[in-house]
Amino acid sequence: MNNNEKSLTELNAELKYLTPENVQFDLTQGGFVVAKLQGEDSFKRVYLNRIFPHDLEEEFISVTDADSNEYGIIRSLDLFDERTAGVIRHELERKYFSAKITKIVSLEERFGNSVWVVETPQGTRMMTLKDTFKSIIRIGDDRAIVIDEDANRYEIESLSALDRHSFRRIELYL
């Protein structure tokens, strides 16, 4: 076991972390995140990816160029000042945007496929699920992701917080 831990820290050393010391982030007029790495003299557009999108929203952020070559990893947004963290957070939220389902207005099922009308803070939406059971992915006990036939994602942040009618509609598929 001891051996194992040692090799893990060694692996750790190979990751390149981005910190306020070695990188500067900024927002362009067009609303895109750019970064200037240590030793470079200009800002370049960067792309942000959550490494554990289900578990950690503000930790382990991989920063890449357009071709997915990684510049480095942000261990945690907390390391950066408020403004920078805000810029990154905003872009991440845009990239990982999925409407949060607050209410299931109706859910009609026919032979495994289903048509839903849901309410989200972004508006009412109608969607079709190809295989209802498979299209609802549970994360932990209380969260769920719903993926419709066009591969749009919707999130239910807390199943237990849904109102009684909504929960009854989805209950059978959990």
């Binding site: 362009t28 007029q29 067009g30 609303g31 895109f32 557009r45 999108p53 071709d67 997915s68 845009r94 990239k95 990982y96 945007f97 999925s98 409407a99 207005v105 109706s106 859910l107 009609e108 099922e109 026919r110 032979f111 495994g112 496929n113 289903s114 048509v115 839903w116 009308v117 989200t120 803070p121 972004q122 508006g123 009412t124 939406r125 109608m126 079709t128 190809k130 295989d131 059971f133 498979k134 419709d148 036939e149 066009d150 591969a151 749009n152 994602r153 919707y154 059978l172 598929y173």
Partner: protein, 779 residues
């Protein structure tokens, strides 16, 4: 971009007048609009209509509030929409003088169109879209540069979908997306109608069972009469009847009918047992055939274990319907009606009372039906997941053992096992909650009969009116419970029927859905085959939003040997999958001998091309069987010749069982390199016009590889060969090389040309050379 005046076209869909009025107010006249498109997301990521129009000189984006929305009713099949007034929310114009490079950036659940400002060189957001509106967004970007994009393409409801999202159920109108439009009421009926041809297939079997059931239940109907009215009233009491006190004869008659009924039941059981195996066999075959015709995308998006469940469980459910369900259903209805008539004939007053629970029972049963169906769907899903898990672990047992994770897998197994048991248990518990109270409801009727009937018998004995005799009462009560029996059956029947309907639906879904890759009508079958392959701007994605091949173009001439190199995951195997047409391209076209592969018959293509794929798979059977798989009619000599050329012969003859050595079952018994040699033999045996080797010699030592390659070169002289390899030495004999990086073709040319270009290939070459130097091997 260009200000070319396009001829007026017939638009498939018009911009709604409210929208075009707003554009007109902004100075964009309807006549100036070249193309339009509606996205479904606003600038700040809310769902709203975003109209995008492209004119000769600019791209304008109009976000509006209001429009047409799904109604907020509790019925999602209510396709009526709510319409509200349209209000402008924001309006932006991007002049094509100022902006260029419009492209769609894919995000998780949709994406955004981005343009580059020519002055500042900065990216700018143009508009957002969800995945549902993605195709149009990509098209409108392309349209900025490309005059060829038409409004038809843009408004075309939904284009042919790429692969990966499974077969689409056909709507009642036979087209792809209509599935949900009319299903509300007619669906069960539709499925039943479609089951009719199956039913006709088994009409003889069903008829036999039917006759037996009718006979034995008709006799069953007699027995209450025998033991009630007949025995008590006629034999014991009625001095005028011919049977009075003839107890021996009476018993003989009663026993006789019972015996006869038993004989019918016995015959029925025997017949059922006989046909059940046949019908199940046949159904399994039908389901299997339906599954088989689908393309690879269908299988990779499903788990094998799940399909196994489908074949086994669904055939059982369907079988039930034909043999145990339908005949009983029909007889039970007849029986019920007959008994009710008799009951009314015996005493209509009592019957009126005892029939009260029946409509209540029927009403409850109907509402139970839907709940049951959902419970079944859930059980089914859990059992599929359970089976998939088991099949996964058993086939991956080697890995499980290598990491000594038996315990972990045991835990996971327990979890699934529990989930399945739990869902079954839950379903049964729910069902029992209803079944017993409902049954009790019927008992009430019996009590009422005893009470009312008993009262009448007592009264008639006193005043001699004979409204009801004791014997008739006994007959009545046992008849009554026989009337309830069919109801009980219907109760179970609905349960089973729902399972069968689900099974039938799954079957028809697979049978009806058009395979994603399929021959067009009257596919071309050319007389000759040269073996020229051409990619023209081919793009491909397995799953939406993940482009694996990106605008690749190249040409392989007849007889040429071409090598494909590139990093792992670059898309090399995908390219050959596309040539074989295991998948259809998302964009662009692939030509073989100048014909689009989509126009050629698939069996023709696959007949002429042989592939040795990266993953070798051996079927259960002998080595010879496995080689012969390519050409089942091949002679022994041909099999041996192919094995010799592929270098398999040498090791096969070392086995005590030679070519009869049994392999398969997860390829036990052969080494990686040996398996590859058998696969090559299989491909060579086919004597293809185009031979594709995907890392076909990667597991062999270099000496063996060289020997085999030499043999292959001999055989494939004058034939087109495509070799994929990481080890550049494997590609020594290639006439030309193609370098694939991240789905794009970055370079192509001969070995020498590519080295001189000092690009990706050069880097790869240097790296392999350096690696050799590192271990002390100099050039």
């Amino acid at each position: 971009m260009k200000n070319t005046q396009k001829p007026p076209y017939e638009p498939m869909m018009k911009i709604p007048s409210e929208i075009s009025e707003i554009f007109e107010r902004k100075g964009i006249l309807p006549s100036a609009i070249r193309l339009f498109y509606k996205s479904d997301m606003g600038e700040s990521l809310e769902f709203c209509d975003t109209w995008v129009v492209l004119t000769g000189s600019e791209l304008a984006v109009l976000e509006v509030l209001g429009g047409i929305f799904p109604r907020k009713t509790h019925n999602a099949f209510d396709m009526r929409k709510t319409k509200t007034d349209i209000v402008e929310r924001s309006f932006r114009v991007y002049s094509l003088e100022e902006y260029e490079g419009f492209h769609a950036e894919e995000l998780l659940s949709g994406g955004r169109v981005v343009a580059v400002n020519k002055d500042t060189g900065l990216d700018t957001l143009v508009f957002n879209f969800s995945n549902s509106a993605k195709d149009g967004a990509c098209l409108i970007c392309r349209a900025v540069e490309d005059d060829g994009v038409t409004q038809d393409e843009l408004s075309g409801e939904k284009r042919d979908r790429p692969h990966g999202d499974g077969p689409r159920p056909k709507g009642p109108d036979g087209t792809g997306d209509g599935f949900f439009k009319k299903v509300k009421s007619g669906e069960t009926k539709r499925i039943l109608t479609k089951l009719v041809p199956f039913f006709l297939k088994y009409k003889r079997e069903t008829a036999i069972v039917f006759v037996m059931v009718v006979l034995s239940s008709a006799l069953g109907l007699l027995s209450p009469y025998m033991s009630g009215s007949f025995f008590i009233d006629k034999v014991l009491r009625d001095k005028n009847s011919g049977f009075y006190a003839q107890i021996g004869v009476a018993i003989a008659i009663i026993a006789g009918t019972k015996l006869l009924s038993t004989v019918f039941t016995m015959i029925h059981s025997i017949v059922t047992a006989k046909i059940s195996a046949r019908v199940t066999y046949d159904l399994k075959k039908t389901i299997f055939e339906a599954i088989q015709k689908h393309s690879l995308g269908f299988f990779s998006s499903r788990q094998t274990g799940g399909l196994m469940t489908q074949i086994n469980q669904d055939s059982r459910s369907l079988y039930w319907f034909f043999v145990d369900g339908l005949p009983y259903f029909v007889t039970n209805i007849i029986q019920f009606v007959a008994i009710v008539i008799i009951l009314f004939a015996i005493n209509w007053r009592v019957t009126l009372v005892t029939m009260i629970p029946v409509p209540i029972f029927v009403a409850i049963r109907r509402s139970l039906y839907r709940l049951r169906r959902k419970i079944h769907a859930r059980n089914y899903s859990k059992s599929r997941s359970f089976n998939s898990f088991v099949s996964d672990i058993l086939s991956g047992n080697r890995v499980v053992k290598a990491f000594s994770h038996e315990e972990l897998e045991q835990k996971k197994f327990d979890k699934r096992n529990y989930a399945y048991a739990d869902s079954v248990h839950d379903g049964t518990v729910k069902a029992n909650w209803f079944i017993y109270p409902v049954k009790q409801l019927l008992e009430l009727g019996t009590f009422a009969a005893w009470a009312l009937g008993g009262y009448m018998v007592a009264k008639s004995t006193i005043d001699g009116t004979y409204l009801f005799t004791y014997g008739t009462l006994v007959t009545y009560v046992s008849m009554l419970s026989m009337a309830y029996a069919p109801l009980d059956f219907f109760n179970n029947f609905s349960n089973q029927l729902s399972e069968c309907m689900n099974a039938a639906h799954r079957l028809f879904e697979i049978m009806d859905s058009v395979p994603e890759v399929r021959d067009r009508d009257n596919p071309t079958v050319p007389d000759t085959f040269e073996g020229e392959v051409e990619f023209r701007n081919v793009s491909f994605e397995y799953v939406k939003n993940r482009r694996v091949i990106d605008n690749v173009s190249f040409k392989v001439k007849k007889g040429e040997t071409i090598g494909i190199v590139g990093h792992t995951g670059a898309g090399k195997s995908t390219i050959v999958n596309l040539i074989m047409r295991l998948y259809d391209v998302t964009e662009g076209e692939i030509l073989i001998d100048g014909h689009n592969v989509k126009d050629l018959s698939m069996s023709f293509i696959r007949d002429k091309i042989a592939i040795v794929s990266q993953e070798t798979y051996m079927f259960r059977g002998s080595i010879a069987d496995n080689i012969r798989y390519a050409v089942p009619t091949a002679t022994d000599e041909e099999v041996i010749a192919a094995a010799k050329a592929s270098g398999a012969h040498d090791f096969i003859i070392k086995y005590p069982d030679g070519y009869n050595t049994q392999i398969g079952f997860g390829n036990k018994g052969l080494s990686g390199g040996e398996l590859q040699r058998v696969s090559i033999a299989r491909a060579i045996l086919k004597n293809p016009q185009i031979l594709i080797l995907d890392e076909a010699t990667a597991a062999m030592d270099t000496a063996t590889e060289q020997r085999i390659q030499k043999a292959i070169t001999e055989i494939t002289r004058g034939k087109t060969t495509i070799i994929i390899a990481h080890r550049l030495s494997t590609l020594r004999d290639a006439d030309r090389l193609i370098v694939i990086e991240d789905g794009k073709m970055t370079e192509s040319g001969t070995h020498v040309e590519l080295l001189q270009a000092k690009g990706d290939y050069y880097k790869l070459y240097k790296m392999q050379l350096d690696a050799l130097k590192l271990i002390g091997v100099e050039e």
